[in-house]
Protein backbone atom coordinates (compact mmCIF):
# COMPACT_ATOMS: atom_id res chain seq x y z
CA UNK A 1 0.00 0.00 0.00
CA UNK A 2 2.81 2.34 0.88
CA UNK A 3 4.35 2.57 -2.56
CA UNK A 4 6.88 5.38 -2.79
CA UNK A 5 6.06 8.02 -5.32
CA UNK A 6 8.61 9.11 -7.86
CA UNK A 7 8.53 12.84 -7.96
CA UNK A 8 8.46 14.21 -11.48
CA UNK A 9 9.11 17.88 -10.95
CA UNK A 10 6.43 19.79 -9.15
CA UNK A 11 3.35 17.84 -8.18
CA UNK A 12 0.59 20.07 -6.88
CA UNK A 13 -0.73 19.70 -3.37
CA UNK A 14 -4.06 18.47 -4.64
CA UNK A 15 -2.44 15.76 -6.76
CA UNK A 16 -0.56 14.59 -3.65
CA UNK A 17 -3.82 14.25 -1.74
CA UNK A 18 -5.57 12.36 -4.57
CA UNK A 19 -6.88 8.89 -3.81
CA UNK A 20 -4.31 6.82 -5.74
CA UNK A 21 -0.77 7.36 -7.04
CA UNK A 22 0.74 9.96 -7.20
CA UNK A 23 -1.70 10.87 -4.44
CA UNK A 24 -1.58 9.52 -0.89
CA UNK A 25 -5.27 9.86 -0.10
CA UNK A 26 -5.80 6.11 0.30
CA UNK A 27 -2.82 5.83 2.67
CA UNK A 28 -4.10 8.66 4.84
CA UNK A 29 -7.62 7.22 4.98
CA UNK A 30 -6.24 3.78 5.87
CA UNK A 31 -4.28 5.48 8.66
CA UNK A 32 -7.41 7.28 9.83
CA UNK A 33 -9.27 3.95 9.87
CA UNK A 34 -6.56 2.44 12.10
CA UNK A 35 -6.67 5.49 14.34
CA UNK A 36 -10.45 5.12 14.75
CA UNK A 37 -10.13 1.36 15.33
CA UNK A 38 -7.45 1.73 18.03
CA UNK A 39 -9.22 4.69 19.65
CA UNK A 40 -12.55 2.85 19.76
CA UNK A 41 -11.05 -0.37 21.10
CA UNK A 42 -8.93 1.40 23.70
CA UNK A 43 -11.90 3.52 24.76
CA UNK A 44 -14.10 0.44 25.20
CA UNK A 45 -11.38 -1.39 27.16
CA UNK A 46 -10.80 1.73 29.23
CA UNK A 47 -14.52 1.93 30.03
CA UNK A 48 -14.57 -1.71 31.16
CA UNK A 49 -11.58 -1.12 33.43
CA UNK A 50 -13.12 2.17 34.51
CA UNK A 51 -16.46 0.64 35.58
CA UNK A 52 -14.72 -2.12 37.51
CA UNK A 53 -12.22 0.35 38.97
CA UNK A 54 -14.84 2.87 40.01
CA UNK A 55 -17.00 0.28 41.77
CA UNK A 56 -13.86 -1.22 43.32
CA UNK A 57 -12.68 2.15 44.58
CA UNK A 58 -16.06 2.95 46.13
CA UNK A 59 -17.28 -0.41 47.39
CA UNK A 60 -14.16 -2.62 47.43
CA UNK A 61 -12.19 -3.71 50.46
CA UNK A 62 -9.19 -1.73 51.72
CA UNK A 63 -6.70 -3.78 49.68
CA UNK A 64 -8.65 -3.36 46.41
CA UNK A 65 -9.00 0.33 47.09
CA UNK A 66 -5.29 0.88 47.75
CA UNK A 67 -4.25 -1.17 44.71
CA UNK A 68 -6.60 0.84 42.47
CA UNK A 69 -5.26 4.02 44.05
CA UNK A 70 -1.71 3.00 43.12
CA UNK A 71 -2.84 2.17 39.56
CA UNK A 72 -4.63 5.47 38.91
CA UNK A 73 -1.90 7.57 40.55
CA UNK A 74 0.94 5.84 38.70
CA UNK A 75 -0.74 6.09 35.32
CA UNK A 76 -1.66 9.73 35.77
CA UNK A 77 1.79 10.78 37.01
CA UNK A 78 3.88 9.32 34.17
CA UNK A 79 3.78 10.72 30.61
CA UNK A 80 1.57 8.64 28.29
CA UNK A 81 4.41 8.21 25.84
CA UNK A 82 6.68 6.63 28.48
CA UNK A 83 3.86 4.39 29.74
CA UNK A 84 3.01 3.24 26.24
CA UNK A 85 6.67 2.50 25.55
CA UNK A 86 7.10 0.45 28.74
CA UNK A 87 3.86 -1.44 28.22
CA UNK A 88 4.60 -2.03 24.56
CA UNK A 89 7.61 -4.11 25.65
CA UNK A 90 6.04 -5.54 28.80
CA UNK A 91 2.80 -6.72 27.17
CA UNK A 92 4.63 -8.45 24.33
CA UNK A 93 7.06 -10.10 26.79
CA UNK A 94 4.30 -11.20 29.17
CA UNK A 95 2.12 -12.67 26.42
CA UNK A 96 5.03 -14.56 24.92
CA UNK A 97 6.17 -15.89 28.29
CA UNK A 98 2.63 -16.99 29.08
CA UNK A 99 2.38 -18.73 25.72
CA UNK A 100 5.75 -20.45 26.20
CA UNK A 101 4.78 -21.52 29.72
CA UNK A 102 1.61 -23.09 28.36
CA UNK A 103 3.60 -24.91 25.72
CA UNK A 104 2.66 -22.83 22.68
CA UNK A 105 5.01 -21.00 20.37
CA UNK A 106 5.70 -17.28 20.35
CA UNK A 107 2.97 -15.08 18.94
CA UNK A 108 3.22 -11.69 17.33
CA UNK A 109 0.16 -9.59 18.10
CA UNK A 110 -0.95 -7.09 15.48
CA UNK A 111 -0.14 -3.42 16.02
CA UNK A 112 -3.82 -2.57 16.40
CA UNK A 113 -4.31 -5.19 19.14
CA UNK A 114 -1.26 -4.06 21.12
CA UNK A 115 -2.27 -0.43 20.64
CA UNK A 116 -5.74 -1.16 22.00
CA UNK A 117 -4.38 -3.01 25.04
CA UNK A 118 -1.76 -0.47 26.09
CA UNK A 119 -3.83 2.60 25.37
CA UNK A 120 -6.83 0.94 27.05
CA UNK A 121 -4.90 0.39 30.29
CA UNK A 122 -3.92 4.08 30.32
CA UNK A 123 -7.49 5.16 29.54
CA UNK A 124 -8.80 2.87 32.28
CA UNK A 125 -7.13 4.98 34.98
CA UNK A 126 -8.77 8.18 33.73
CA UNK A 127 -12.14 6.44 33.20
CA UNK A 128 -12.01 5.13 36.77
CA UNK A 129 -11.79 8.67 38.12
CA UNK A 130 -14.53 10.04 35.84
CA UNK A 131 -16.93 7.19 36.64
CA UNK A 132 -16.16 7.30 40.35
CA UNK A 133 -17.18 10.96 40.38
CA UNK A 134 -20.34 10.13 38.43
CA UNK A 135 -21.33 7.32 40.82
CA UNK A 136 -20.89 9.70 43.74
CA UNK A 137 -23.38 12.05 42.06
CA UNK A 138 -26.16 9.44 42.34
CA UNK A 139 -28.35 10.42 45.31
CA UNK A 140 -27.63 8.05 48.19
CA UNK A 141 -31.34 7.64 48.87
CA UNK A 142 -31.87 5.97 45.49
CA UNK A 143 -29.23 3.34 46.24
CA UNK A 144 -30.48 2.82 49.78
CA UNK A 145 -34.03 2.42 48.50
CA UNK A 146 -32.89 -0.21 46.00
CA UNK A 147 -31.02 -2.04 48.76
CA UNK A 148 -34.07 -1.86 50.98
CA UNK A 149 -36.09 -3.46 48.18
CA UNK A 150 -33.64 -6.36 48.32
CA UNK A 151 -31.88 -5.78 44.97
CA UNK A 152 -28.64 -7.69 44.50
CA UNK A 153 -25.51 -5.56 43.90
CA UNK A 154 -25.38 -6.41 40.17
CA UNK A 155 -29.06 -5.67 39.64
CA UNK A 156 -28.65 -2.45 41.62
CA UNK A 157 -25.72 -1.40 39.43
CA UNK A 158 -27.54 -2.28 36.22
CA UNK A 159 -30.95 -0.81 37.03
CA UNK A 160 -30.19 2.08 39.37
CA UNK A 161 -26.58 3.27 39.61
CA UNK A 162 -25.45 3.01 35.97
CA UNK A 163 -28.55 4.67 34.38
CA UNK A 164 -28.59 7.43 36.99
CA UNK A 165 -24.90 8.20 36.76
CA UNK A 166 -24.88 8.21 32.93
CA UNK A 167 -25.91 11.84 32.62
CA UNK A 168 -23.19 13.02 35.00
CA UNK A 169 -20.57 10.82 33.37
CA UNK A 170 -21.15 11.80 29.73
CA UNK A 171 -19.23 15.12 29.66
CA UNK A 172 -16.17 13.54 31.29
CA UNK A 173 -16.40 10.49 29.05
CA UNK A 174 -16.70 12.73 25.99
CA UNK A 175 -13.46 14.44 27.03
CA UNK A 176 -11.80 11.06 27.43
CA UNK A 177 -12.86 10.03 23.94
CA UNK A 178 -11.35 13.21 22.49
CA UNK A 179 -8.17 12.51 24.48
CA UNK A 180 -7.89 8.93 23.27
CA UNK A 181 -8.28 9.88 19.61
CA UNK A 182 -5.41 12.32 20.05
CA UNK A 183 -3.35 9.90 22.15
CA UNK A 184 -3.36 7.39 19.30
CA UNK A 185 -0.91 9.78 17.62
CA UNK A 186 1.63 8.77 20.31
CA UNK A 187 1.54 5.23 18.96
CA UNK A 188 3.19 6.52 15.78
CA UNK A 189 6.33 6.97 17.86
CA UNK A 190 6.29 3.22 18.60
CA UNK A 191 5.99 2.52 14.88
CA UNK A 192 2.29 1.70 14.64
CA UNK A 193 0.78 2.70 11.33
CA UNK A 194 -2.01 5.10 12.20
CA UNK A 195 -2.89 8.51 10.82
CA UNK A 196 0.16 10.40 12.11
CA UNK A 197 2.59 7.69 11.02
CA UNK A 198 0.96 7.34 7.60
CA UNK A 199 1.17 11.11 7.24
CA UNK A 200 4.83 11.17 8.21
CA UNK A 201 5.61 8.45 5.68
CA UNK A 202 3.82 10.38 2.95
CA UNK A 203 5.47 13.64 3.96
CA UNK A 204 8.97 12.21 4.13
CA UNK A 205 8.65 10.51 0.76
CA UNK A 206 7.26 13.50 -1.08
CA UNK A 207 8.94 16.22 1.01
CA UNK A 208 5.56 18.00 1.04
CA UNK A 209 5.54 18.29 4.84
CA UNK A 210 3.19 21.23 5.10
CA UNK A 211 0.54 19.77 2.81
CA UNK A 212 0.36 16.41 4.50
CA UNK A 213 0.50 17.52 8.13
CA UNK A 214 -2.17 20.11 7.38
CA UNK A 215 -4.32 17.44 5.71
CA UNK A 216 -3.93 15.11 8.69
CA UNK A 217 -4.81 17.99 11.00
CA UNK A 218 -8.04 18.52 9.07
CA UNK A 219 -8.87 14.81 9.39
CA UNK A 220 -8.24 14.80 13.17
CA UNK A 221 -10.29 17.98 13.53
CA UNK A 222 -13.16 16.47 11.54
CA UNK A 223 -13.06 13.38 13.75
CA UNK A 224 -13.23 15.49 16.91
CA UNK A 225 -16.00 17.78 15.59
CA UNK A 226 -18.14 14.78 14.58
CA UNK A 227 -17.48 13.24 18.02
CA UNK A 228 -18.59 16.43 19.77
CA UNK A 229 -21.90 16.36 17.87
CA UNK A 230 -22.45 12.66 18.65
CA UNK A 231 -21.67 13.09 22.34
CA UNK A 232 -24.04 16.07 22.45
CA UNK A 233 -26.80 13.72 21.23
CA UNK A 234 -25.80 11.04 23.76
CA UNK A 235 -25.86 13.55 26.58
CA UNK A 236 -29.34 14.75 25.60
CA UNK A 237 -30.46 11.10 25.52
CA UNK A 238 -28.87 10.38 28.91
CA UNK A 239 -30.53 13.43 30.44
CA UNK A 240 -33.96 12.39 29.16
CA UNK A 241 -36.45 12.51 31.99
CA UNK A 242 -34.19 14.70 34.08
CA UNK A 243 -35.48 18.03 35.23
CA UNK A 244 -33.62 20.79 33.40
CA UNK A 245 -31.40 22.90 35.58
CA UNK A 246 -29.24 25.90 34.96
CA UNK A 247 -25.56 25.08 34.35
CA UNK A 248 -24.46 21.65 33.22
CA UNK A 249 -21.92 19.29 34.67
CA UNK A 250 -18.32 20.05 33.87
Amino acid sequence: MLTPVVLSGAVSSFDLLAWSSPGWGATLVAGLWNTCLIAFGAYALGLLIGVAGAFGKLYGGPVTRDCLGVYTTLVRAVPELVLLLIMNFAVRDLINQAMLAMGYGRVELSGVAIGIIILGVVQGAYSTEVLRGAILSVPAGQIEAARAMGMSPTLLARRITLPLMAAAAVPGLANLWLTVTKDTALLSVLGFIELTKATSLAAQTTKAFFTFYLAAGVLYLALSLVSVVIFGRIERWARKGQRTMEGGAH
Binding site: A77, P79, V82, K182, F209, F210, Y213, A216, Y220
Partner: protein
Protein backbone atom coordinates in the same frame (compact mmCIF):
# COMPACT_ATOMS: atom_id res chain seq x y z
CA UNK B 1 2.65 9.16 58.03
CA UNK B 2 2.49 6.43 60.66
CA UNK B 3 -1.31 6.49 60.54
CA UNK B 4 -0.97 5.76 56.85
CA UNK B 5 0.95 2.55 57.62
CA UNK B 6 -1.26 1.39 60.49
CA UNK B 7 -3.47 -1.10 58.56
CA UNK B 8 -1.77 -4.47 58.10
CA UNK B 9 -2.30 -4.62 54.33
CA UNK B 10 -0.49 -1.30 53.91
CA UNK B 11 2.51 -2.71 55.77
CA UNK B 12 2.47 -5.71 53.43
CA UNK B 13 2.23 -3.38 50.41
CA UNK B 14 5.09 -1.26 51.74
CA UNK B 15 7.24 -4.38 52.08
CA UNK B 16 6.36 -5.39 48.50
CA UNK B 17 7.30 -1.91 47.24
CA UNK B 18 10.62 -1.98 49.09
CA UNK B 19 11.37 -5.47 47.80
CA UNK B 20 10.52 -4.43 44.23
CA UNK B 21 12.82 -1.42 44.45
CA UNK B 22 15.57 -3.59 45.94
CA UNK B 23 15.11 -6.20 43.19
CA UNK B 24 15.21 -3.50 40.50
CA UNK B 25 18.37 -2.00 41.99
CA UNK B 26 20.02 -5.38 42.45
CA UNK B 27 19.08 -7.43 39.41
CA UNK B 28 18.83 -4.79 36.70
CA UNK B 29 21.84 -3.27 35.03
CA UNK B 30 22.61 0.27 36.20
CA UNK B 31 26.27 0.44 35.12
CA UNK B 32 25.49 3.11 32.52
CA UNK B 33 24.21 5.56 35.10
CA UNK B 34 27.48 7.36 36.09
CA UNK B 35 28.47 7.78 32.45
CA UNK B 36 25.23 9.53 31.51
CA UNK B 37 24.67 11.43 34.74
CA UNK B 38 25.53 14.84 33.29
CA UNK B 39 23.30 14.39 30.26
CA UNK B 40 20.38 13.17 32.38
CA UNK B 41 20.62 16.23 34.61
CA UNK B 42 20.75 18.59 31.63
CA UNK B 43 17.78 16.71 30.18
CA UNK B 44 15.82 17.24 33.39
CA UNK B 45 16.61 20.97 33.20
CA UNK B 46 15.36 21.19 29.62
CA UNK B 47 12.17 19.39 30.60
CA UNK B 48 11.60 21.74 33.54
CA UNK B 49 12.42 24.90 31.60
CA UNK B 50 10.28 23.95 28.64
CA UNK B 51 7.37 23.28 30.99
CA UNK B 52 7.76 26.58 32.85
CA UNK B 53 8.46 28.74 29.78
CA UNK B 54 5.61 27.30 27.71
CA UNK B 55 3.24 27.52 30.67
CA UNK B 56 4.05 31.20 31.36
CA UNK B 57 3.95 32.27 27.71
CA UNK B 58 0.88 30.13 27.11
CA UNK B 59 -0.97 31.69 30.04
CA UNK B 60 -0.31 35.19 28.66
CA UNK B 61 -1.79 34.10 25.35
CA UNK B 62 -4.61 32.22 27.09
CA UNK B 63 -5.58 35.34 29.07
CA UNK B 64 -6.06 37.22 25.81
CA UNK B 65 -7.95 34.30 24.26
CA UNK B 66 -10.16 33.94 27.31
CA UNK B 67 -10.84 37.67 27.52
CA UNK B 68 -11.68 37.83 23.82
CA UNK B 69 -14.23 35.05 24.26
CA UNK B 70 -15.68 36.25 27.56
CA UNK B 71 -15.93 39.98 26.88
CA UNK B 72 -14.63 40.72 23.39
CA UNK B 73 -16.63 41.83 20.36
CA UNK B 74 -17.75 39.02 18.07
CA UNK B 75 -14.98 39.67 15.53
CA UNK B 76 -12.47 38.85 18.30
CA UNK B 77 -14.47 36.14 20.08
CA UNK B 78 -15.09 34.10 16.96
CA UNK B 79 -11.41 33.70 15.89
CA UNK B 80 -10.42 32.98 19.50
CA UNK B 81 -13.03 30.23 19.76
CA UNK B 82 -11.97 28.77 16.41
CA UNK B 83 -8.34 28.77 17.50
CA UNK B 84 -9.16 26.88 20.72
CA UNK B 85 -11.25 24.33 18.79
CA UNK B 86 -8.47 23.67 16.28
CA UNK B 87 -5.76 23.30 18.92
CA UNK B 88 -7.91 21.05 21.09
CA UNK B 89 -9.06 18.99 18.12
CA UNK B 90 -5.63 17.95 16.83
CA UNK B 91 -2.81 15.97 18.51
CA UNK B 92 0.12 17.95 19.89
CA UNK B 93 2.51 15.63 18.06
CA UNK B 94 0.97 16.66 14.74
CA UNK B 95 1.17 20.35 15.65
CA UNK B 96 4.83 19.85 16.53
CA UNK B 97 5.53 18.13 13.20
CA UNK B 98 3.58 20.77 11.28
CA UNK B 99 5.59 23.59 12.84
CA UNK B 100 9.01 21.97 12.79
CA UNK B 101 8.96 20.06 9.52
CA UNK B 102 6.28 22.05 7.67
CA UNK B 103 7.30 25.55 8.63
CA UNK B 104 10.97 24.55 8.75
CA UNK B 105 10.85 23.21 5.20
CA UNK B 106 9.04 26.32 4.06
CA UNK B 107 11.66 28.57 5.70
CA UNK B 108 14.66 26.67 4.40
CA UNK B 109 13.43 26.98 0.81
CA UNK B 110 12.91 30.74 1.11
CA UNK B 111 16.25 32.48 0.35
CA UNK B 112 15.23 35.73 2.10
CA UNK B 113 14.83 33.87 5.38
CA UNK B 114 17.90 31.72 4.88
CA UNK B 115 20.06 34.81 4.49
CA UNK B 116 18.46 36.79 7.31
CA UNK B 117 20.06 37.16 10.73
CA UNK B 118 17.27 35.07 12.26
CA UNK B 119 18.26 31.93 10.38
CA UNK B 120 20.51 30.46 13.14
CA UNK B 121 17.51 30.64 15.49
CA UNK B 122 15.02 29.37 12.93
CA UNK B 123 17.32 26.47 12.08
CA UNK B 124 17.35 25.04 15.61
CA UNK B 125 14.64 22.81 17.04
CA UNK B 126 14.01 24.33 20.52
CA UNK B 127 12.20 27.49 19.30
CA UNK B 128 9.75 25.34 17.35
CA UNK B 129 9.27 23.08 20.34
CA UNK B 130 8.61 25.99 22.66
CA UNK B 131 6.28 27.59 20.11
CA UNK B 132 4.27 24.39 19.65
CA UNK B 133 3.96 23.78 23.40
CA UNK B 134 2.99 27.41 24.00
CA UNK B 135 0.36 27.51 21.25
CA UNK B 136 -1.05 24.20 22.44
CA UNK B 137 -1.34 25.11 26.10
CA UNK B 138 -2.82 28.49 25.13
CA UNK B 139 -5.62 26.69 23.29
CA UNK B 140 -6.52 24.58 26.33
CA UNK B 141 -6.07 27.35 28.91
CA UNK B 142 -7.99 29.82 26.72
CA UNK B 143 -11.12 27.80 27.44
CA UNK B 144 -10.28 27.63 31.15
CA UNK B 145 -9.70 31.38 31.34
CA UNK B 146 -12.95 32.08 29.46
CA UNK B 147 -14.83 30.22 32.16
CA UNK B 148 -12.79 31.87 34.92
CA UNK B 149 -13.41 35.40 33.57
CA UNK B 150 -17.12 34.68 33.30
CA UNK B 151 -17.16 33.24 36.80
CA UNK B 152 -16.08 36.47 38.50
CA UNK B 153 -19.21 38.07 40.02
CA UNK B 154 -20.43 40.95 37.92
CA UNK B 155 -20.92 43.16 40.97
CA UNK B 156 -17.14 43.33 41.42
CA UNK B 157 -16.71 44.97 38.03
CA UNK B 158 -19.74 47.23 38.53
CA UNK B 159 -18.34 48.36 41.88
CA UNK B 160 -15.02 49.17 40.21
CA UNK B 161 -16.78 51.18 37.55
CA UNK B 162 -18.84 53.00 40.18
CA UNK B 163 -15.61 53.90 42.00
CA UNK B 164 -14.31 55.41 38.78
CA UNK B 165 -11.51 52.86 38.35
CA UNK B 166 -10.13 53.05 34.80
CA UNK B 167 -11.03 50.02 32.66
CA UNK B 168 -7.53 48.63 32.37
CA UNK B 169 -6.81 49.09 36.08
CA UNK B 170 -10.07 47.31 36.89
CA UNK B 171 -8.95 44.45 34.68
CA UNK B 172 -5.47 44.33 36.17
CA UNK B 173 -6.43 44.75 39.82
CA UNK B 174 -9.85 43.13 40.06
CA UNK B 175 -10.92 40.98 37.15
CA UNK B 176 -7.68 39.16 36.28
CA UNK B 177 -6.57 38.30 39.86
CA UNK B 178 -9.97 36.86 40.71
CA UNK B 179 -10.16 34.90 37.47
CA UNK B 180 -6.64 33.49 38.03
CA UNK B 181 -7.57 32.60 41.58
CA UNK B 182 -10.58 30.65 40.33
CA UNK B 183 -8.58 28.94 37.61
CA UNK B 184 -5.62 28.06 39.85
CA UNK B 185 -6.61 24.44 40.68
CA UNK B 186 -7.22 23.77 36.97
CA UNK B 187 -3.95 25.47 36.01
CA UNK B 188 -2.11 23.24 38.48
CA UNK B 189 -3.52 20.13 36.87
CA UNK B 190 -2.81 21.44 33.40
CA UNK B 191 0.82 22.18 34.34
CA UNK B 192 1.28 18.52 35.23
CA UNK B 193 -0.31 17.59 31.88
CA UNK B 194 2.01 20.04 30.13
CA UNK B 195 5.05 18.50 31.84
CA UNK B 196 3.80 15.10 30.73
CA UNK B 197 3.64 16.20 27.11
CA UNK B 198 7.23 17.49 26.97
CA UNK B 199 8.62 14.04 25.94
CA UNK B 200 7.16 14.78 22.49
CA UNK B 201 9.93 17.39 22.10
CA UNK B 202 12.37 14.54 21.61
CA UNK B 203 10.55 13.73 18.36
CA UNK B 204 11.95 16.93 16.86
CA UNK B 205 15.50 16.17 18.12
CA UNK B 206 15.38 18.21 21.34
CA UNK B 207 17.45 16.45 24.02
CA UNK B 208 15.03 16.69 26.92
CA UNK B 209 14.92 14.00 29.60
CA UNK B 210 13.11 11.60 27.29
CA UNK B 211 15.50 12.32 24.44
CA UNK B 212 18.52 11.60 26.65
CA UNK B 213 17.01 8.31 27.82
CA UNK B 214 16.27 7.39 24.23
CA UNK B 215 19.96 7.82 23.50
CA UNK B 216 20.84 5.68 26.49
CA UNK B 217 18.52 2.98 25.17
CA UNK B 218 20.09 3.15 21.72
CA UNK B 219 23.66 3.08 23.07
CA UNK B 220 23.26 0.41 25.75
CA UNK B 221 20.55 -1.73 24.09
CA UNK B 222 18.83 -1.99 27.47
CA UNK B 223 15.02 -2.18 27.33
CA UNK B 224 13.58 -1.57 30.74
CA UNK B 225 16.20 0.13 32.92
CA UNK B 226 16.25 3.56 31.24
CA UNK B 227 12.46 3.53 30.88
CA UNK B 228 11.90 2.68 34.54
CA UNK B 229 14.25 5.46 35.66
CA UNK B 230 12.49 7.79 33.22
CA UNK B 231 9.08 6.94 34.71
CA UNK B 232 10.46 7.44 38.22
CA UNK B 233 11.90 10.88 37.44
CA UNK B 234 8.68 12.04 35.78
CA UNK B 235 6.71 10.78 38.78
CA UNK B 236 8.92 12.79 41.13
CA UNK B 237 8.58 15.90 38.95
CA UNK B 238 4.79 15.48 38.82
CA UNK B 239 4.70 15.03 42.61
CA UNK B 240 6.76 18.19 43.14
CA UNK B 241 4.46 20.16 40.83
CA UNK B 242 1.38 18.95 42.72
CA UNK B 243 2.99 19.92 46.05
CA UNK B 244 3.98 23.34 44.69
CA UNK B 245 0.46 24.13 43.51
CA UNK B 246 -1.04 22.87 46.76
CA UNK B 247 1.31 25.22 48.64
CA UNK B 248 0.39 28.08 46.30
CA UNK B 249 -3.34 27.48 46.75
CA UNK B 250 -2.99 27.40 50.53
CA UNK B 251 -1.07 30.66 50.50
CA UNK B 252 -3.89 32.50 48.74
CA UNK B 253 -6.71 33.67 50.97
CA UNK B 254 -10.02 32.04 50.07
CA UNK B 255 -13.55 32.85 51.03
CA UNK B 256 -15.33 30.65 48.53
CA UNK B 257 -17.27 27.72 49.92
Amino acid sequence: MLDFLRPLHRQVMAVIVVLTIWACAHYLNWDWLPQYRGEIISGIWITIWMTIASMVLGMVLATMLGLAQAAGPSWLAWPARTYCTIIRGTPLLLQLYLLYYGLGALFSTTPEIRQSIFWPILKAAPPYGLLALTLSVAGYEGEVMRGAFKGVPHGQLEAARAMGVPRFTAFRRIWLPQALHRALPTIGGETVLQMKSTPLLAMITIMDLYGVMNRVRRDTLLTYEPLLLLALIYMILAGLLVLFFRWLENRLPTRTA
